[in-house]
Symmetry: C2
Subunit: 344 residues, 2 copies
Amino acid sequence: MSDIRIAIDAMGGDKAPGEIVKGVVEASRAWPDLKLVLVGDQEVIKAELAKNSAAPSDSLSIFHASEAIAMCEPPAQAVRTKRDSSINRGMELLRDKKVDAFLSAGSTGAMVAAAILIARRSPAVKRPAIGTVFPTIGRPVLLLDAGANTDCGPVELEQFAIMGSIYSRAVLGQENPEVGLLSIGGEDLKGNDITKETLTQLRENKFLNFRGNVEGHDLFQGETDVIVCDGFVGNVVLKTIESEARAVAHMLKNAFKQNIFTMLAALLMRGALKKLKKTMDPETYGGAPLLGVNGTVIITHGASSHKAIYHAVRVAAECVRKDVAAKITGNLAALKKRHTEGLF
Amino acid sequence: MSDIRIAIDAMGGDKAPGEIVKGVVEASRAWPDLKLVLVGDQEVIKAELAKNSAAPSDSLSIFHASEAIAMCEPPAQAVRTKRDSSINRGMELLRDKKVDAFLSAGSTGAMVAAAILIARRSPAVKRPAIGTVFPTIGRPVLLLDAGANTDCGPVELEQFAIMGSIYSRAVLGQENPEVGLLSIGGEDLKGNDITKETLTQLRENKFLNFRGNVEGHDLFQGETDVIVCDGFVGNVVLKTIESEARAVAHMLKNAFKQNIFTMLAALLMRGALKKLKKTMDPETYGGAPLLGVNGTVIITHGASSHKAIYHAVRVAAECVRKDVAAKITGNLAALKKRHTEGLF
């Protein structure tokens, strides 16, 4: 299966098209057997390719789209009206099986809307979920849903647990990923109405390696591979983490600027801090998969640099190679059958 | 009003009774006009007082309680069966107006249960809420509810906003505290079913200085004084913040231990890092008020040191001095009247 084809939205993200095209050129050079398709304004893309000493070729082609969806546009409406946007066109390529994966650093809302409206949900999936990987002091954690669905019941949360397990096994290399349900304490009695109902359901699911409730304190321990929550909680948690990281960095920077001694310390710490920053860099995790749609869809951070795009291409290829989307469809169909037949 | 009387649970918390009694002795020396009452095993407390060169007196007395509720006990059951526990006895002192405030570093669940069962909710309050103050790069933020109520509707959330505003004004010194509703984006359309309904209600409440939705990214900006959410989300967010802070501290420590240069840097940074740690120290904020009960109730972190207890005594006295509980009762009664009469 050497002919993995990946479409990349060249127009999405705060640093598009420059960083996007640069990252795609780097990925193309690293994995020449991938067929990469840049979607967007062809003149603009050609110019960016030239800046990176590259030109359209069989393995790095352009698919023209005359429009782009901005970050601030109402997502569903933008997808419905901007028919020739890079997000719509990329998602159509995926739907029509012209590519196996589509990735974008553009509007998350528009990507989710386009995935549902154009590529469509996998059979048996109630709601696609965004998975986000973040570094911890232990193993990296996959948290889902990170914001695609604000109100979820036990059925959705159980599906997220399964989709997350499949992704963790296939892409993050966890043989038997441990799954936790995000709650307000480790004990079974802790939680809100929905998590309590979900807990029972997850305990009975033999497909999962379910450890029970996990709480905020467990997030950075890195002992749970997949953490499940609704998209409201997931989004708040992930943005809180980003906000705190920025605040800490800001305060540390100030501490290093205090006087001549601390400035010297900053110099001495340069290497160690650089290494630390690298370990903690979310860009190496290759963006957030939108799980539960037909085909591989990856959404990267709006501020994605070329490095984030490069890794997102790697992860997209991995998803295709490991057949993540088909595995999700298969498992969820089996789950639905068991639920319908009342086997548990 | 010099005769402020505060009961302190001497048996609650991971470091009880040693750190608790030490903190209370320090508070007694700092503010000799306060009447402090240590609740718990009198022999144990006497011994701890002696260690701090103190003895029972008019301003620092002991109220004997033969039992203690452990962190792990089911809260409501423990409060119902351990009638002579320090938490029950302290809450009875509050109910009987023998003291004006009660504070504990013991089980949060037991404190909430005892407050509701013994001291009782203020008239018009549907659910008492735990407020937690945390430091940011701007002004400190009061987040509530931090975990007393897992499932909340718009009525509860509106009450939290009012109680939080009153506390922020009285204790945190914000003249006109800005209130935000925790959601997944700043725009009015962002949120889950409950936050969307709550948003409309908060916009119409003239008592509040309401700025609209805030998101995780805003938490550490310190531009909003009071952030409102249900206790499930609040608990997850606060524990996430603690978890990340611990992880960052762990990784920084490792970075400073890397080689001879980084070890020298650690020496040079000692003063600056100490100062930073002090700014970020949640112990100086004096614990979390349980708002919406009859009287002042303060819950401090289970790991509270003497310093946390010292500051909690200060905050408890401030709450009493500023009549926070009565102000909450008055404002919520007025709100209920407006709601009932359909004025908005």
